[in-house]
């Protein structure tokens, strides 16, 4: 059996859902952030894979992937900054305890 697009897609799909799982079940903001990173990576796998199998003519996929990586970095930066300031103010980063704002 030849290695094909489907394999990569499967991996990325599973990775994405693992990330999603973290997103949905983790209390710790940082853990949720990690989940998000996983999801972004899944997207990256897709992009690169498609670039390889579907549209090898141009490198849009890989470039997109690079962009996504950068964005991920930025998100991590800003996000973690927010986490820190939130922790300073609220003394917690457990999101289910951060709910003054509701209804």
């Amino acid at each position: 059996m030849e290695l094909g697009l489907a394999h990569f897609l499967t991996t990325s799909a599973l990775l994405f859902c693992l990330g999603l799982y973290a997103l949905l079940t983790r209390r710790n903001a940082v853990a949720i952030l990690m989940g998000i990173e996983l999801m972004l990576n899944a997207a990256n796998i897709n992009l690169v894979a498609f670039n390889r199998y579907v549209a090898p003519a141009a490198l849009n996929g890989q470039i997109f992937a690079l962009v996504v990586i950068t964005l991920a970095a930025c998100e991590a930066g800003v996000g973690l900054a927010l986490v820190i300031s939130a922790y300073r103010r609220l003394r917690t980063i457990r999101v289910d305890e951060i709910n003054v704002l509701k209804w």
Partner: protein, 480 residues
């Protein structure tokens, strides 16, 4: 390969905004504490200048630059105008309300300016990569803005919530983008549009939905709206205003461009999908808005509801009244909702409360403020001769023309529901006695901003012709 100079010229506004933003950062270093308002005024002046090149592009030919990555068409131009104008008003309101509440005032103006650049690009980007970039650009700055008052519990909470929600949504969206890319092998919307016709159905639907998650988050469309009330309530009021108008407008620009340009040719039943979402969105927004007791929160839900009305225009994109309707509504909504938030800013600044109870008897304490608020509320209800009415009128027209009579009826019912909580504000201001007769004074900058938005609200209602023309220009959205 060398770029034709025309391309560069058509990017003039973006360059200007970028330069302005960076310039402000630099300027901020030299402006001493307590004089930071200067930075704000400079930002306002700069943005105002920025309006000129944008306006200059009105009526120009619809085309793309940078190999289809970036669209320069009436649609984008109009939205750019709205965004920049809104930013100006927001900064005006911030000048008074923010000074003293944060140590990073200068950066705030810079960030607002820069993120307005992001919004501008969102409205114009015709390439998935650029789109993703500009969306993230906006999101990142918005997260920061929402959490700007670090000493304020609510603000901090708003920041982190907004971030987590937004990051999640955009992750989903990016995954969707990747699938779209896989299905068509292109990132340029126009190239995608050519391929998408015979793209395999299930995957396309999946991609569409995931993309909707990201864009829906930006325009606060149900079920991706839940950040809205919390963030609006927690964020600095000016920022909330900014999010509710500028970033929503840009979000709709992007949404329309993606759906209409890229997905419309496909065999997916876009209209039914969007119409359904529109109905749900406006209903949920209005219903939850009813029991609210906090003006910002109430406005947040109302902005969800209005997202529903706007989606009505998106659903009617096939009708000749559809897109113009959307644009007119956006413009009307921008003025009106900004105005409402500005009043909220003023009241908060004077009374220190954002609870509705604070508005009791405002008519006696500050007639001008109350009158303005009443005007905005009526406009949000859609009573002529205000902008809101004309927008609603146009959107309904689009829906009916597109054969979506049921959606129009749903819209009508919703307007009636909405009447309730808007009228409640009017009632509080005029029919209820104030608990203290002390008059309130509005600061100059705010007065200016209020005047502009009130004027706009009335002007659109009384002399809609120019705006209709504008919408007509916007209607020639570059599509295949």
């Amino acid at each position: 390969m060398p770029m034709p100079p025309g391309d560069l010229w058509s990017l003039a506004p973006e360059f200007w905004l970028a330069a302005l933003g960076i310039g402000l950062l630099v300027l901020d270093l030299f402006v001493p504490e307590g004089r930071k308002r200067i930075v704000g005024w400079v930002a306002i002046a700069g943005l105002a200048l920025g309006l000129l090149p944008i306006a200059g592009m009105l009526g120009g030919p619809a085309r793309t630059v940078l190999l289809g990555a970036y669209a320069v068409d009436g649609f984008a131009v109009v939205f750019k105008l709205v965004i920049v104008a809104a930013t100006i008003l927001v900064i005006l309101s911030a000048l008074d309300s923010l000074s003293g509440r944060t140590g990073f005032e200068g950066e705030l103006y810079a960030l607002l300016t820069l993120s307005s650049l992001g919004l501008v690009m969102m409205a114009a980007s015709a390439d998935l990569i650029v789109l993703a970039l500009s969306i993230e650009f906006v999101s990142l700055s918005s997260y920061v803005l929402a959490g700007y008052f670090k000493e304020d519990r609510k603000s901090a909470e708003a920041g982190i919530k907004y971030f987590l929600f937004g990051a999640g949504a955009s992750a989903v969206m990016l995954y969707g983008f990747s699938i779209v890319y896989g299905l068509t092998g292109h990132t340029s919307l126009y190239a995608i549009a050519l391929q998408v016709r015979d793209a395999p159905q299930p995957a396309l639907v999946l991609a569409l939905v995931m993309v909707l998650a990201g864009l829906g988050f930006k325009v606060s469309m149900v079920p991706f709206h839940q950040w809205t009330p919390d963030v609006y309530e927690g964020a600095p009021t000016s920022v909330a205003a900014y999010l509710s108008v500028a970033s929503k407008a840009a979000g709709f620009a992007a949404l329309v461009r993606v759906l209409v340009v890229a997905f419309a040719p496909s065999s997916v039943e876009l209209v039914a999908l969007v119409a359904g979402l529109a109905a749900v969105t406006m209903t949920v927004g209005n219903l939850i808005a009813l029991p609210q007791t906090n003006i910002k929160r109430m406005l947040a839900y109302s902005s969800v509801a209005h997202a529903g009305f706007l989606l009505m225009g998106v659903a009617a994109f096939n009708a000749e009244f559809g897109t113009p309707g959307l644009v007119v509504y956006v413009i009307a909504y921008a003025f009106t909702n900004l105005g409402a938030f500005l009043v909220a800013v003023a009241v908060e600044g004077r009374l220190g409360t954002t609870e509705l109870s604070g508005y009791a008897g405002l008519a006696q304490r500050s007639p001008a403020l109350a009158a303005a608020m009443a005007l905005f509320m009526l406009s949000l209800i859609g009573i002529p001769p205000t902008a809101g009415f004309f927008g609603k009128f146009y959107i309904f027209a689009g829906a009916i023309q597109a054969g979506l009579l049921w959606l129009a009826v749903a819209g009508v019912v919703n307007s009636v529901v909405a009447l309730y909580y808007y009228a409640n504000v009017i009632r509080l201001m005029y029919l209820v006695a104030p608990e203290s007769p002390l008059p309130l004074a509005e600061p100059t900058a705010l007065r200016l901003a209020l005047g502009i938005s009130a004027l706009g609200t009335l002007a659109i209602g009384l002399f809609p012709q120019p705006f209709v023309a504008l919408a007509g220009a916007a209607a020639l959205l570059l599509r295949f």
